[in-house]
C-alpha cells in the first residue's frame, strides 16, 4: 500500500500545476457557482492544518456529484494546495460515476481519488477504507461522505447513515473530524449538479468523536456523533438561510 500511495501522490503532485487551474476553470465555467465567504472557510482550514498534525478526516453532507470539488475549493486556494499537497483531501468518488472509462480513471488517479463502488463487495469497500485509514495515519487529509451517497431526501438523515466513517475513526488514533455542511441556496433536494450560478454556503465544525464503547457499538457511536453534528449544522443553515453567510468552528 505505501508504494501504491506514493506513486499516485507523486503523479498527482507533478501534474497539479496543470490540473488544479484546469479544474478550477472548469468549475467556474460549467457551474458558475460562488462560495460565500470563501476566505473565511479557507482561513479556518489553514488554521486547523497549521495547529496540529493529528489525523484529519473531513465528513460532509452530500447533495450533488461535484460536492467534493467545491469543498476542496472552499478549503484552500490552488497555490496553497500546491505548497502543501498533503492538505489536498483524498477522496472516494463513486466508481460508476467517476471512474467508468480509462480517461476518467486517469483523472481520478491524479486527483488523489480512490474510487469506491456504492453497494459493492464488502471486501472491496473494506480495502478502500483501509487505505483511507493508512493515509490519515500518515498525516494526510481525506474526505468521506458519512451518508454513503447523495442524500435522497436532500436532508441529513441520522437514522440512515452508514457506519464506515465510524469504523475509520475508531481505527485511526486521535483522529479529528472536520464536519463540513455545504449547500447551494437553490439546492432544494439532491441532484446531479448544483444550479448554475448558485450561491454555496459552507459551514465547518471541528470535532473529536469519542466513545467508551467497544466493537461495533463504538463504530456506531462515532458515526452517530458525526451525523448529529451535520444535522445540527443543517438546522443552523436553514435557520440562517435568509441571513448572512456563516462559517463557524467548533471544538
Amino acid at each position: 500500500m505505501p508504494r501504491r500511495h506514493r506513486s499516485q501522490r507523486a503523479v498527482g503532485w507533478l501534474l497539479a500545476p496543470f490540473w488544479f487551474p484546469l479544474a478550477s476553470l472548469f468549475l467556474r465555467l460549467r457551474f458558475g457557482c460562488r462560495i460565500e465567504d470563501i476566505s473565511r472557510s479557507r482561513a479556518l482550514y489553514h488554521k486547523i492544518r497549521s495547529e496540529s498534525d493529528l489525523p484529519l478526516l473531513i465528513c460532509a453532507n452530500h447533495l450533488t456529484l461535484v460536492d467534493s470539488f467545491f469543498i476542496a475549493q472552499a478549503l484552500a486556494p490552488n497555490w496553497r494546495f500546491l505548497l502543501d499537497f498533503d492538505s489536498v483531501p483524498w477522496n472516494t468518488p463513486e466508481e460508476v460515476n467517476f471512474a467508468n472509462t480509462p480517461f476518467n480513471h486517469a483523472l481520478v488517479y491524479i486527483a488523489k481519488c480512490v474510487p469506491i463502488r456504492r453497494g459493492g463487495k464488502r471486501e472491496d469497500i473494506r480495502e478502500v477504507l483501509s487505505r483511507i485509514e493508512y493515509l490519515l495515519g500518515r498525516g494526510e487529509v481525506a474526505i468521506l461522505f458519512p451518508e454513503g451517497g447523495r442524500s435522497r431526501t436532500g436532508r441529513i438523515d441520522p437514522d440512515n447513515a452508514g457506519w464506515g466513517v465510524g469504523r475509520v475513526i475508531a481505527r485511526v488514533k486521535d483522529c479529528r473530524v472536520l464536519c463540513v455542511y455545504m449547500r447551494g441556496d437553490a439546492q432544494e433536494t439532491f441532484g446531479t449538479y448544483p444550479k448554475h450560478g448558485d450561491r454555496l454556503r459552507v459551514s465547518m465544525a471541528l470535532i473529536e468523536p469519542k466513545s467508551d464503547a467497544r466493537g461495533v457499538r463504538k463504530t456506531r457511536d462515532l458515526s452517530a456523533q458525526i451525523m448529529s453534528q451535520l444535522a445540527q449544522m443543517e438546522a443552523d443553515y436553514f435557520a440562517t438561510r435568509a441571513g448572512p453567510s456563516h462559517a463557524v468552528a467548533g471544538s
Partner: protein, 82 residues
Amino acid sequence: MEQSAVMEGVVKILTPWVKNEDALQAVGMETNILDDLKVNSARLVDVVIAFEDEFDIEIDDEDVDTVNTVGDAVKLISEKLG
C-alpha cells in the same frame, strides 16, 4: 446452545430488516444477508448489535467482515458462545 436455536434467533433478529419476504420464507444457512434478504448494508451494524444483545456476546468489527450469509452469522455466534 443448539445451532438450530441460534439459527432461529438470527432469523428473528434479521426479520425486521428484511426487504425480500420471499427469500425470508426460504431462508437457510446459505442465504446471503445483503444480496438475498436485501438487508440495507447501512443497517448491518444494528443487526450485529442486536446479535450481541440477544446472545450476550461481543462481536468485533473484524468479525463483521466474515458475515455474509445466515450461516456465517450462526457460525460466528456459536463460536462466541463457545
